[in-house]
Symmetry: C2
Subunit: 318 residues, 2 copies
């Protein structure tokens, strides 16, 4: 299932315009284009789509006011993936060879930096106000703080609170900022902007918890990532945190996750507990909270799309 | 010699204020502060100083209008060094252990990203106009393009033109942008801004050529870098380009620089040619061109400081 199926004709058109604007944004230098273009293939475009929907939540905002920022959001997301792949030494992403594997860490670091810079240039040159640049820079900063926090605590078991702090910083604030930016560009009122942002936060928390479940229990052929990748690299996520609390074999599980033992064994232990159901229920609760925050005053087509994106986020298989 | 000796009392005071503002700018998260603080020790602060001088080139601009951007420029410079050190796998920088060596590539990539984001946040939250963000994002972008270009051509001999394109992108545009930003913040007239920028370009080209000479012929104890580091990592710079043209042993030199042979042998061959004198003369010519561009209308103290910075750039030993 893809959330694009849920979009109205206008939103779908926006998404096509977005696709056409990515290439020119990275096309100034032929090599950089060659290095970057594959990175944009196969993405869900969730972040720019959330922004575009919120930017058109009450009346239509002209594309020239939305597209540069929509592109900037996808550039930032892709830059963070490029830098993530250096860290993970992953060989593929979205089914395509990573910049890191193809050109080495040097070029990959610089390519990511280029994409970040290009995103801020797009925003600076298209008359967005300072609030937009500020929101954008803060989301990048929080993303880094969240990732650093995670990276500093590899093979350590986080408390539930620490886990939530991390996923908020590295995922939820990004999605929430996309919705907030949409509200800012649409010049909708301050209360509604906060509600849109709260929708994004709930969506983001649910998105990350679902990601964590998919890492253990997803179909490798569909996710495109090796099963248990998080655990192998020392990232301890919600299913483990829950299983450690309820499993009879929690000391065995603790040993595996803190020492880098067998992923298959860890999965077996987790499956014997209520962790999958419990995590799924939490993800659904965050989605409920997201939906409750949607203002009543939005266009029906936008409400519908945001609701369907919410379903997609918890039901997705990749 | 340090260019700080050349500064007027007002400029020196500005530099002290700058030092005090770096810590709060990176102090939001205790770990990030711990990781970043050493990176700022021992820097020359050339970039923020150029900006501050140009921002006060005719009348005094209040510190609250200059300091956030001065700090942002030093954050960007440091971020680029952090990412450079990942690439170079250097163990020390400015005499201090690099973030890469201390915390690993993961944290180093993210720390650099954090500093970039923080720089843009400082600019966004201090009421600078879009021209400032645009200049800043373009200089980061050009820096990346220059570094990528250099990295793609390791162990290949660049033409003189290619060499200049690279050093312009990776160094001169940065220094030039610092001067330009000063002019923008000072709201001086467009012609003068272009002249300040041209001063920065000449300074930047001379700075990089001097850097390239120091890499071969500097005192390791003073530069803090191993001699011939560029050559070892495959970066072919101006002294080599010149020596290849005039040396009787140019085929031997070509073999060393394209294959990663003995640095000492390469230095010996270069020293038998006119390359050092020729490169020094070129650096001095760029400095002359920088000075010619300085507008007559600047405050005497600023003119004096910019002139002394120009001398420092070619006479420095580190």
């Amino acid at each position: 299932m893809n959330f694009v199926a849920a979009l109205s004709e206008a939103a779908e058109k926006n998404l096509r315009v977005l696709e056409d604007q990515i290439a020119p944004a990275i096309g100034e230098d032929p090599f950089i284009f060659e290095a970057c273009a594959p990175l944009f293939k196969g993405g869900k475009r969730l972040r720019p789509m959330l922004f575009l929907l919120c930017a058109n939540c009450k009346t239509s905002t002209p594309p020239e006011k939305t597209m540069p920022l929509a592109v900037a959001l996808e550039l930032i997301h892709t830059a963070s993936l490029v830098h993530d792949d250096i860290i993970d030494t992953s060989k593929t992403r979205r089914g395509v060879e990573t910049a890191n594997s193809k050109y080495g860490a040097q070029i990959a670091v610089l390519t990511g930096d280029y994409l970040f810079a290009k995103a801020f240039q797009l925003v600076a040159e298209n008359n967005y106000d300072a609030q937009v640049t500020s929101t954008l820079s803060k989301l990048v900063k929080n993303l880094c703080v969240g990732e650093i926090m995670q990276d500093r605590r590899l093979f350590q078991i986080p408390t539930l609170e620490e886990y939530y702090t991390q996923i908020n910083l590295k995922t939820a604030i990004f999605l929430s900022s996309c919705c907030r930016l949409g509200g800012i560009v649409a010049k909708t009122d301050a209360g509604e902007i906060e509600n849109l942002a709260a929708y994004g936060t709930g969506l983001g928390l649910a998105f990350q918890i679902t990601d964590d479940l998919l890492d253990f229990f997803g179909d490798e052929k569909v996710t495109g990532k090796p099963r248990g990748g998080d655990l192998k690299s020392g990232v301890i996520t919600l299913p483990v945190i829950r299983a450690l609390e309820t499993s009879k074999k929690s000391s065995e599980l603790r040993e595996i996750v803190t020492g880098g033992g067998s992923v298959d064994e860890a999965i077996k232990i987790i499956l014997e507990t209520d962790a999958v159901g419990w995590c799924t229920a939490r993800a659904k609760a965050h989605i409920e909270s997201a939906l409750v925050n949607l203002p009543f005053t939005l266009k029906t087509s936008v409400t519908l799309a945001l609701e369907q994106i919410a379903s997609f986020v918890v039901d997705r298989t990749r």
